[in-house]
Every structure is written in structure tokens, then in C-alpha cells.
Symmetry: C3
Subunit: 393 residues, 3 copies
């Protein structure tokens, strides 16, 4: 329905964050005389979305079954772009197959969850204000890319373990969303269809979305994307916040500090090479003692060959904390070792129709430490296959 | 999208209940010849809604933190007005940030909840029939006003403690909705753009919405609004029902009686003074013994000065039951004393754009009895600040 | 909004399954020149749905109250038909008053649940591919009919006890949906507005929808509908799958086999007689021992007399397993005896307006074995009355 949508299906969205946030702005044609009906239509909320569904196979699952295979309703995103006014847009995004731990229903079924609900006041291209619940600018995959434009089926662990998860207060994916206000803009027009600089400054709760914050401290984000030429840009984001220590070494405080930093570079020719790398850090110290120390990285290389997009990705994640033993001989869990792996992904996308993409991903996991199934079998690797269709409407 | 919406943002809706229920009727223009496409468009469900999001600060919260501050997703209302036929409309309203106690997900997050789902057969202006789940006519704030048209961010306690809550069966806000049938109409056309009398007669489950009733007794509502002149009206509503005694002195019966009565008056000049007052009673006796005895009131005064609406409101609520001590020396909880307060609100709305309103509310609570934080600190007052944006789409 | 919808309200949908799945295909007119706005409109997702609300009265309920009566929000279906491409459609269906056991919220309230979320690639009329979460082809009522087109308010027990429920893994209604892929098509054009053969071949998880499967075995469905003349057809469906034994005699295995078979015949003249019968079997043996043995049937007879549709239905269900007593004298529950009944339904539908149908159903249950209320009263029969309005938008 939008210009963005048509282009975005097979070719990953170009990293102009403006395109993510304000898809309607450029898409609506402006005929010289509008009938009453055309005016009504122009002001109606625009509904769009996509279904990602298919087959997942995994070997050596954690629950001791040798392999699992399932048809999956991976994602069903419903998006509503409402027109609030001449310069104000509203965006609602709902995940209809939300299966995040703790939020499924009593039968363990996935259900609906509000992801985005924000209004954006576009004062001018150089300055916009966003209020509500929105995706934070922490890295390309969390801000500039959605599963609709992502090359692979799943994100790297920079998203799942860093951007989408608050390691202090909880330990589950929160879709990388938060409640607050964000200032942003695009500066220095190149005259060649892009601007040299994009910036984001956000103040957010620093807690779980769809919930009031229970500490008074707010999170702060600063992010800049520099685009020297049309197909290439680099991005860096820093985040600081204070949290309750729930997940690891509980000390009751609601005000433990945490730092997150993600830096990356992206070259993307829609008719050629797609090359992206990101590196992320997550750290916390309380009274000079390390509480959190995590690190993630990935490199993705693909090539847009007509309707095909073959790709390879390497990604890693490392929780560098060590479990300790207390004077009573009990193990103090400080580390999520089962996420400590390197992983190779080989994949290919095929654009069957304008709005239909078939995605094939093969993963091999190399665990840093040996893993054990519940009946004690040891394993150091793991394979996964995903075959998905992505249908945009 | 509707004529109503445009007017409603900064100027509170005039208390013609018809305007609340049937917004589409007047709003759709009627061109002489319709193309196929215009006919399709005219019969499509109309989607609208509003996001209310901002900042909340409160001092002396009950959980012993001295002050709390949080960005909030206060309300996200999604409204669908479907055309069932020439004289039959359908209304669906969903709260996408429903945080009512007991209905949040396993992670404590707000989620989606159906509020309204009803069909209205408009036989004639004097007689309409509504069936389904709808808002009951108990007072202006529950029936004639929505958060989209309310002057303040939150309702008074006549809504939260009386209309929106069944003190027998449960003790949480139910949005003032119930399942049943309602007859209503507007009589005696003044010839000056309004009718002198509006009436509502409803028969409802008298239990929680979105759930089957577990007693056979039904609730009854009768309500009348008399409007002698365009800008002024008075309204009175009486409700009777029978309930299970869960919340206070459980006696196992599903058939304890309860009476509710709300009366009010409203003067509202869209270019001038807005003055509204309501008084409510809630009472129950079983075997000559008082079981429930509550009282609430408020006076709101504002002035529509162009894009500004400054206002002041006083409201009070009093649960007049007394906790008692039984022969074993145990306290029998009969009263919700922490709601027993007077409160002053000073606020101002500014209409930034046609569909964007900025709302600032400052509250001071005067508790009737001393309150205590969980570590024993005593307090008799409390302050709250709300700064919200209301974005209609 | 669709041609199908207008016809479907009072006259049950003719059993061409193609009409269920692809309502938009025929409905959109194709003018010779489209304006930009017409193109936008043509590609917008189409939203429709229906509310079914009214009154339910039941005598001799299981919970020992002599009779219950309640206004009910029976069903609110929201349907979105999105256009993915020239030959690819997307269908989303949400039940907004889902009250399935285990999925209501903490206050026992019904809430939103995704039922359907699938894409259909219509390669040609003879061959279509569907992927996602969809209704399985097990019988007319689960596949060819929805509550919008069903003559009665509720389905027969072939749907609720066989198609909509997996007696091994769980024991609640799952809407007869599953995740997987389905091939289907209509063969042998009669040249008189119908095709002689419809077929469905499906491979699905064989577990609960909206959830990943936890065994590796997949379910298989094969179904054929033969239509020798326009108003008459016969249908047979066979399903095989493997399941975890949760509900009866748990043995820990995830791979117990189950067979389901439903056969039926339907004569339906939209201006005359509507006569339909189905018979279903559900069986399982493990190591030569019967684990499941159930049987269901119904005969429905109605007559389309203008706006009226009077009808009578007999249906039965029989769980033929017997509870046993183990060496310790404990009863081993192998049978759901409270569903073992014959039932007579007498009903009438009246089409008040094009999109409004009033439905009256009277049921009498004849239990095979005596039933007992919780305080020991015995009963062998039960009455139920349903008075509902069905409003389509």
C-alpha cells in the first residue's frame, strides 16, 4: 500500500530511519481537487501488516527431545497508521502471535500484544518529537529494520539479548520497546536524495513496555547515523539507565546502573551487495564490582540478485560473568551460559510475488561451553532450519 | 473523521447522549449520485480512536516509595463503527492499554480488552434499542462523556467507585460496562437544535462485562436528562440490582440488593463557561442491616478560552461503613478507607492542533483519616501531577 | 460488504468451500478505469465481522443452581481480508469474546483470540495452497459453515467434541483450527455454476493452535466433496495423527495414534428445503487396547420460507469408553459421560434486516446415564433456550 512496502519486501529497507517512522508522508498522492470521498479516504487510518509462517526444525533442543519440528505462526504484525493532523502521525503495531515468556494464556497459547503506540509530531525534517511506546534506537536491527525488512528470519543476539531485554529487571524479550519521548531528525541534505546525519535523543522509563515504571530514574539514549554516500552509513548508540536487580544477584536496590553501547556499519546497494556488521556491549558495576558484562556481534553479507537474496551471517554472544560458589557451597547463578555461542547462518530469500517472500535459513550453533540435555547427554553444537513465507498485506 | 470528533477535542461534548451513541448518522455526507466505490466506502466500518500518553508523578504512594514518576501509556482506545444496515449501527471499542487488576498478563503488562460491543437499532429518534455490551447510563461521566471529551485526565470517584465497580461481587474498575438491552430516545424537539428530554431504560446482567452472569437476577436502570435550554441540562439515574457478596461480609447469597442513584446538572457553553456537578449514593441493606453505604460528589468549573481550557475541580468520596471487631478480636473489613478523601484538581488543556490536546492536571488529596505507608510513616495528604497528550486519529 | 455476506445471513452458505475461503475474489467490481483513489481502496484490507449477542437460559445446570439465565456476548468475530497480491489473499479472524477454558483473564473475562491467520495462493481454481493457521476440513460445520451462516446458534457435538477438540492432548474447544499447509481445489466444472468435486489435503501440527507443536509427528487430512447437482453434495473426511496422552490414561508417550472420520450429505435449496446429516467416529488403540472410542451424529431439517427459517435438529454424542476400577479400588476416568446425550433442537431464524438475524433455539437434552448435581439431585434431562441477535457489519 505504501511506496515503502513495495520496495521493502525483497530489498532490505535502506537505513534512513525516517522511512521507518513516517511511511505515509511520501506515499499519499496529492491530486489537485479532492472529492468529499477522497478526503475521507485520505484521512482514514491505513491498515497493513504481514504474516510470517512456516516450518521450524531444531536438533538437540534443550528439553532433551533429540529434535523438534513444528509448523509455526512466527509473527503476525498488524499496523495502523492514523492521521492525527497535517504534521502529526499515529502508529499502532500489534503482534498477534506474541509468545513471550509470561505473557501466553493459561493454555500456553500466543496472543495479542501492543508493541508500538506512539504519536510523532514532524515539526520539520530536522526536528521531530515522538511520544508514547516506541522502539528504541539501540542498533540497526532494533530501530532501522523490522522483521518485514530483515534479511534473516530472526534477529541477531544484539537484539534479543541486549536491545530487547533488560538484564536487570527481567530476562525475556520485550520487543525493544519502551515508553517515553524521543527527539529526532535528519540534518544536512546532500541534494542526492538522502541526508548526511540522522540523530535520536530519547528519555524513557527503562522498564518493561505496557507497564508503569516502578523506579523514578529514567533511561537516556543518544544515537547518531552518519551517511557519507547513499548506500553506506555508520551508526552508534549509547544508553544509560538504572534498574532493579532481579535477575542475577538481587540486592533489593531499584537504582543499579547499566550501560549499553552498539556501533555498526552498513553498505546496502538494493541491486547488489548488502553488508552489515554490528558490535554491542552491556556493562554494569555496583560498588566497584561487576554485575553485568555482556558482548555481542554479527556480520551479515548478502547479494540482491533479482528476486534472490542469498546471505551468510556470523553472530556471537558472550555473557562474561562467571557463576560463583558461596561459603555454603551453593552456586550463585551470574551467567546465562546457554546463550554463549557462535553461530553460522546460511540463507536465501526468494521473492515469489511483490508481497510474498520465501525465506530459508540454516543455522549451526557452536556453544562456548558444553551443553547438557536433561538426561545428561552432552552436546557442543546444534542445528536449526527455518522455512518461512512472509506475506505482506 | 466525524463531525463529532473535530469538535470534541477541546470543547467537551455537549450532553446530548445521542451524539455519543450515533456519531456516524450525521457525519456521512449524502451526495446525489454515488459511484460503486463511494458505496463501498460508505459501507466500510469506520475506524478511529485516540492515544493518551504522558507523564505521571505522585507523592506519598501507598507502596512506601516517597514519590513515583513514570511515562505512561494511559489509554489507547480503538473504535470501530460498523454499518449493519440503514437503521442499525454496530460499535466496537477496545482499550489497548487495559491495566485493570486481575487482567494484566503474567508479566504485569497491560493488554487489550473489549469495552463496547453493541448494535443499536434506531427505530426513530424517540425510540432506539441497543443490545450487547455497552456503557450504563449512571451519571454524565459514565455515559455522556468519554476520556476523549472529558476535561480532566481521570474521572471523578463517582465513576471509579460507583459506576465502574460492583462493590459486592468485585472491587475493581469494570469500565462501567454491562451486558444487556437498553431502550432510549430523545423526545420533544425544541426546534432549536436539541430535544427537551432524553431517556434510558436498561436491563443488564449486573455483573462483570465479558462474562456470563452467575445469578438469575438482572439489573435495572432508569435515567432521564432534561434540557430546558441548549447549554443546560439536569440528569438523574437510578439503578437496582442483586449481587453475590464477595467483597465485604460474605454470606454466600447471590441475591443481596444494591441501590445506586446519581443526580447532576451541567451548563456548557462551547465558547464560554463549563460548569458541572454530580452527587451519587450507593446503598445496601440485608435483613435490616447496612451492608454498603457510600457517597460521592464533584463540582467542575472551566472556561473555554479559544485553544485553552483552564479548570478547577473538587471531588469527594466517602465509604461510610465502619470496620468492626468480631468476638475473636479480629477486624472485619467493611470499609475501603483509603478512598475516603476530598481532592482538589487544578488543570488546563491546550489544543495544539485540531486532534492534539495537551493536558496538565495537578491534584491534592486530603484524606479523611490518616494514611500509613508500609513502614509506618503517617500522611494525611498526597500530591499528583499528570502531563498528557491526547492524540485522536 | 461482500456479495457473499449479503446472501449468507439468512440462507446458509452453499457448500462450495471456495466461497468460504475466497470471498473477495468475486466481490470486487472491476471498472474499466480506476483512479488513484480507487486503486488504493481496492488494495486496502477489507474489515468485516459479526456480533452475536442475546439471552441464554438453562435448566438443571451442572453446578447445582436449578436454572441460570444471562445476557451473553456469544461471539464477536472480526475478519480482515488483506490483499497480498493478484493471486494471494490473507485472512485474519479474531474472536473478541473468546471464553475457552484456560484462556480467560484473571477475572474470568472473555478476551481476544486469533482464530485464523493464513495466506492462500490461488494458483488456479483446481489448485490452491494455504499456509498458516486455518480451519481443518473435518466435516461441514467445521469447514463449510461458520456461526455466521450456521442455521442454529451452536454447532453439533461433531464439531465441539471431535473437530474442535483433541481428546488426547487437551479437552477444550480449540475452534477446529490448526497450523500447517493445505492443498485444495475445485475440479470438473459442470458449466452450471458449480464444480463436481472439491478436495482438501492438509498437513498440520495436530496440536493446539497459536502454539508450537511439541511432538514431531504431523497430522494428515484428506477430504472430498462430491456435488452431483447444484443443491446436493456429499462429503467425507479422514484424519490421522499422533498425540500425547494427557487427558485420560497418561502413559507419557507423545506418539499415541488417533483416527477421525466424518461423513455427511447436504441438500440445500436457498429458497426451499435445507437438509443435512453428518456422522463422525473418533478412535484410538495403543498396543491392541482401546484408548478412545467416540461417536457423534446429527440430522438438521429446515425450510427457507422468505425471511423465516424454521428448523429441527437431532444430535447425539457417545463416549463409548467405560471408566474402570484399578486394583487399589480407585476409579480410572476414561469417559466424559456428561456429554453422552441425545438432544432435540427446535428453532427459527427471522431475518429482520439484510444484516440482522434473530435466532431462537429450544434444546432438550436426553442423557444416556443419570446426571447428578453437586448436592446429589438426580436428573436425566435438561432444557436450554437461546434468543440471539446476529448483526453483520
Amino acid at each position: 500500500m505504501y511506496a515503502e512496502d513495495a520496495a521493502a519486501v525483497a530489498t532490505p529497507e535502506q537505513p534512513t530511519t525516517a522511512a521507518v517512522a513516517e511511511p505515509t508522508a511520501e506515499a499519499t498522492p496529492a491530486p489537485q481537487e479532492k472529492s468529499t470521498w477522497e478526503k475521507i479516504l485520505a484521512n482514514m487510518p491505513k491498515i497493513s501488516g504481514y504474516l510470517q509462517t512456516g516450518w521450524n526444525w531444531a536438533q538437540d533442543s534443550y528439553d532433551n527431545s533429540h529434535a523438534t519440528s513444528s509448523f509455526q505462526a512466527k509473527r503476525l504484525r498488524l499496523i495502523m497508521d492514523g492521521k492525527v493532523g497535517e504534521k502529526v502521525d499515529f502508529r499502532l503495531q500489534i503482534e498477534a502471535f506474541n509468545g513471550i515468556a509470561g505473557s501466553t494464556n493459561g493454555n500456553g497459547q500466543k496472543n495479542l500484544q501492543v508493541m508500538d503506540a506512539f504519536a510523532t509530531w514532524k515539526v520539520m525534517p530536522e526536528f521531530k518529537i515522538r511520544a508514547g511506546q516506541f522502539y528504541t534506537p539501540l542498533g540497526y536491527e532494533n530501530y532501522d529494520i523490522s522483521p518485514k525488512t530483515l534479511e534473516t528470519v530472526d534477529f541477531s543476539n544484539i537484539v534479543y539479548r541486549m536491545a530487547c531485554r533488560n538484564p536487570y529487571e527481567y530476562n525475556f524479550v520485550d520487543y525493544g520497546r519502551d515508553l517515553g519521548v524521543m527527539l529526532m531528525g535528519d540534518l544536512f541534505d546532500s541534494g542526492k536524495g538522502f541526508r548526511y546525519l540522522h540523530y535520536d535523543l530519547a528519555l524513557t522509563n527503562g522498564s518493561i513496555p505496557c507497564k508503569d515504571d516502578d523506579n523514578s530514574s529514567k533511561d537516556f539514549y543518544v544515537s547518531a547515523t552518519v551517511r557519507p554516500v547513499k548506500f553506506f552509513n555508520i551508526k552508534a548508540t549509547y544508553n544509560y539507565g538504572k534498574y532493579k536487580d532481579n535477575s542475577k544477584i538481587a540486592d533489593g536496590s531499584k537504582y543499579n546502573p547499566m550501560h549499553r553501547f552498539v556501533v555498526g556499519a552498513w553498505y546496502n546497494d538494493p541491486q547488489g551487495i548488502d553488508l552489515r556488521a554490528e558490535y554491542g556491549l552491556l556493562k554494569s558495576k555496583v560498588d566497584g564490582q561487576k554485575r553485568l558484562d555482556e558482548q555481542g556481534a554479527y556480520v551479515l553479507a548478502g547479494y540482491h540478485a533479482g528476486k534472490w537474496l542469498p546471505m551468510v551471517r556470523w553472530d556471537m554472544y558472550r555473557d562474561k560473568m562467571q557463576n560463583t560458589v558461596n561459603p555454603n557451597g551453593e552456586t550463585i547463578q551470574k551467567c546465562n551460559a546457554n546463550y554463549n555461542y557462535n553461530r553460522i547462518l546460511v540463507g536465501v530469500n526468494y521473492q515469489l510475488f511483490k508481497n510474498v517472500t520465501i525465506q530459508f535459513n540454516y543455522h549451526h550453533f557452536f556453544f562456548n561451553d558444553k551443553q547438557y540435555t536433561s538426561n545428561g547427554e552432552e552436546y557442543s553444537g546444534r542445528n536449526q532450519i527455518q522455512l518461512m513465507g512472509r506475506f505482506c498485506f
